[in-house]
């Protein structure tokens, strides 16, 4: 048995494992498993069903890889695979999951969390165990109660603390004929008049969550009872005070007459997030604009950066041109500064009031365009900034590709009488596009989701009037998703945001499949392997 176990642990490359090696691996595996089990149990306990399942699956995979001899090569990449599974693959799947839920404001809790929160509520019952009470207060405005139950036991009660039996209470002043202290520490006993005129004392919940006590009448204080009870068998919450039953309807505990409890939970709502697009014109209008601008922005960005990059590469392709290297170094500068910083710099320069661009324009020709207010100007400004950011990349790529085009092609063309434009159009461009085509597609995908420039430059503004959610004229889908989920001062719409993310996924997937087909990437993979 032991020999067999040892054999199983032999490493895949035929080098037999030493005993200490095996022990170390076993201990490590046990530690990982213990952690994973603890983690998954906690996740299930909080109601994070997908997270719990993900952890369990990943842990199972880890065990398989570590225990099975044939998996030796996978052990080398195990850590990377775990990280990829947890932080790349799982979020993609979770996005799909969330897209079919109403996760968002009013539905932020999981179902167990919402039950827990609801069943915390207490009420003062009409009957039940009761005390006669005496009130105290101190100068700070805090209150205390002296309670006497029907069978003669006495307790001292402070808000938020467990009841203290009379025998254990400290700081009691002189007792009167009924055994009630005149004072408790710095708390002074309240007389009947003070009690009758006090607004606060009857609203305070004394004692802890478990043995809470509240004043019911001038003489009586009653033990508080839970207002709601969760009936697991029928999946309903019963109101113990009124007898009403609440059933879960799309993440809301709802009574037969339509009343709802405040703490909702996230629940499956089917295709609701998607059908909103077709059912609500107020919502559809901005979204259609955003989609159109998203494609236009990506297309024009790629077109402009490629055109300028290619033009520069073409004009300065001549190796004898003096100063070529210096010019290239200068033109490369936009590429060397983190783009976030330069986007913010451009934001300052385009500022309509204090920006250098408008000051120069108004000094020279007396105009000051409202770059951040006018939707069209904002779009133009974004494209200018993106051109500045993006052309050096294509300049580099194109100058490399141009040098790879054999010179005798041009010689042959000029012998046949082709002019410079024809040479460019018939030889350079087609050959270049073959080499650069995949990069153009990749650049399109990048710009399609270029959150940084949209958000940092103008935060999607100017706003689209009348949109039910925050949306701007320069918002693209991904920045719109950000607004739905994270914009300050607005409702959180995680479910809807995830649904729109799926639209982005589909667009990206289609473009990528096209790119792979176009570049025969798979065949290249096959060759490389």
């Amino acid at each position: 048995m032991a020999v067999q176990a040892l054999k199983r642990f032999e490493t895949g490359d035929g080098q037999s494992a030493t005993l200490s090696n095996v022990v170390i691996r076993l201990v490590l595996l046990l530690a990982i498993d213990a952690f994973a089990i603890w983690f998954a149990v906690r996740a299930f306990g909080e109601g994070y069903l997908p997270l719990g399942i993900a952890i369990a699956l990943i842990a199972a995979g880890v065990n398989y890889v570590i225990l099975v001899k044939e998996m030796y090569p996978i052990r080398w990449m195990l850590l990377g695979l775990i990280l990829m599974a947890m932080f790349s693959i799982y979020p993609i799947l979770l996005t799909v999951f969330v897209a079919f839920t109403n996760y968002g404001d009013g539905h932020l809790l999981t179902k167990p969390q919402s039950i827990e929160q609801i069943t915390k509520a207490r009420f003062v019952p009409e009957g039940g165990s009761a005390y006669t009470w005496t009130g105290y207060s101190n100068e700070a405005g805090d209150y205390a109660l002296w309670l006497q139950s029907e069978n003669g036991d006495s307790f001292l009660a402070f808000p938020g603390q467990t009841l203290i039996p009379a025998a254990e209470a400290t700081g009691l002043g002189e007792l009167d004929s009924e055994g009630i202290p005149e004072s408790v520490g710095d708390y002074e006993r309240l007389n009947a008049f003070q009690v009758a005129s006090d607004q606060n004392i009857s609203t305070i919940q004394f004692g802890s969550e478990l043995d809470g006590v509240q004043i019911r009448s001038p003489q009586e204080a009653a033990q508080l009872q839970p207002k709601f009870a969760y009936d697991e068998a029928n999946d309903i919450i019963n109101d113990l005070e009124t007898g009403v039953s609440y059933t879960p309807v799309e993440g809301r505990w709802t009574a037969a007459n339509g009343d709802e409890l405040t703490a909702g939970f996230r629940a499956n709502v089917g295709l609701d997030n998607f059908t909103r697009f077709f059912q609500s014109p107020a919502f559809r209008g901005p979204l259609v604009r955003i989609i159109i601008w998203n494609f236009a922005f990506a297309f024009f960005s790629v077109f402009a950066t490629f055109a300028l990059g290619l033009a520069i590469a073409y004009v300065f392709n001549d190796p004898e041109f003096p100063g070529r290297k210096i010019i290239q170094s200068f033109l490369l500068i936009p590429y060397t500064i983190p783009s976030l910083i330069t986007i913010l710099i451009w934001r300052g320069m385009f500022n309509p009031q204090v920006g250098v661009i408008n000051r120069t324009l108004s000094d020279l020709i007396g105009i000051a365009p409202a770059w951040t207010v006018d939707p069209w100007l904002a779009k133009i400004a974004i494209l200018i900034v993106n051109l500045w950011l993006g052309y050096p990349y294509f300049m580099l790529i194109c100058s490399g590709a141009l040098q790879a085009i054999p010179g005798d092609l041009y010689e042959a063309a000029s012998i046949d009488g082709a002019n410079a434009w024809q040479q460019f159009y018939k030889i350079t461009l087609p050959l270049l596009l073959v080499a650069v085509g995949p990069l153009l597609v990749a650049s399109f995908t990048f710009n399609f989701n270029n959150f940084n420039i949209i958000f940092l430059f103008i935060e999607g503004g100017p706003p689209i009037a009348g949109s039910p959610t925050r949306a701007g004229h320069t918002d693209i889908l991904i920045s719109y998703v950000y607004n739905l989920a994270f914009a300050a001062g607005r409702g959180k719409e995680y479910g809807l945001g995830a649904a729109i993310t799926i639209v982005i996924f589909v667009v990206v997937a289609v473009i990528t499949l096209f790119q792979f087909r176009y570049t025969k990437m798979w065949e290249e993979v096959g060759e490389g392997v």
Partner: protein
């Protein structure tokens, strides 16, 4: 038409190209000049159209480091810390995996490589709601890797570590002849010894390039940090700089200019010093990816 000799026509063409070049260079470096000028302009307005401000001063740099609302020193430190840890871990994980893909033959290898490439198409940025949800849930189980922690953010970055870099690195491993490994193995070396003592030193140039690109990429991230980090003293530089411009403290362009310059400096130095290696690695990576 002018009667120009070949030589004259050539100089004429050079001249025009130089004019074009100067216009382009102006376009390229104008923001840099402007931010340089604004950072030394103590008036904290952008209103000056002069490139060289009237009274040059270091006031902006001083207020940058002495305003408790905008702890610039902490931001820079956070950025360097997060980027360095991410880079080291990411490169380690990727190198190990790339070694396995290059040197072992196992079933599903080809499909795994393709799958890694496919998953890379959907970066964590796109799934930001799910990533935020995930880290929020971590928060209630293990707060140390939850919201507003650098550890949580780094983990999310590492989720994207195995991507194009695997392809790039596997390609370089493939260029090292297997005969080298085999001779070492014949002498009794284990896989680990071959990998760590023989191949890693040979891989050093490409490791450095990938490390630099990873560092720059992490240093320049904005969205994930913005979504996952909540308190000002946890921010990395990029999120911090955004605060200057977004009007949260009423736009402070002067200190922003100083901060932008200091923040860009490390990356610009890296680029200028290692220009050739980076461009080489980049184009190779781009063509492969």
């Amino acid at each position: 038409m002018f009667n120009l000799t070949f030589r004259q026509r050539r100089y004429f063409s050079y001249g025009i190209r130089w004019v074009v070049a100067l216009i382009l260079i102006f376009f390229a470096i104008f923001p840099v000049l402007w931010i340089l000028s604004a950072s030394f302009n103590p008036t904290n307005t952008l209103a000056t159209a002069k490139l060289i401000p009237d009274n040059i001063g270091l006031d902006n740099y001083y207020s940058l480091f002495n305003n408790p609302n905008t702890p610039f020193g902490i931001w820079i430190w956070n950025s360097i810390k997060i980027s360095s840890i991410t880079t080291v871990l990411s490169v380690s994980v990727t190198t190990l995996a790339a070694y396995a893909f290059s040197r072992f033959r196992f079933s599903g290898r080809e499909n795994m490589l393709k799958a890694i490439l496919l998953i890379q198409v959907f970066p964590a940025l796109l799934a930001m709601i799910a990533v935020f949800t995930l880290i929020t849930q971590f928060d209630s189980i293990i707060p140390a890797i939850g919201l507003n922690t650098h550890a949580g953010l780094i983990l999310v970055y590492l989720g994207g570590a195995m991507g194009v870099n695997i392809w790039l690195m596997k390609g370089f491993f493939d260029t090292i002849p297997r005969a080298i490994d085999e001779s070492a193995m014949v002498d009794g070396a284990t896989h680990w010894q071959t990998f760590s003592q023989l191949l890693l030193p040979l891989m050093r140039p490409i490791l450095i390039v990938i490390a630099i690109l990873t560092f720059i990429g992490t240093y320049g991230d904005f969205v994930l940090a913005r979504v996952l980090l909540k308190s000002t003293d946890q921010y990395p530089l990029m999120v911090g700089l955004f605060i200057f411009t977004s009007g949260q403290f009423s736009q402070q362009w002067g200190p922003f200019a100083a901060g932008a310059l200091l923040g860009a400096l490390p990356i610009m130095i890296i680029y200028l010093v290692l220009q050739d290696q980076i461009v080489g690695g980049l184009t190779q990576g781009a063509v492969k990816g």
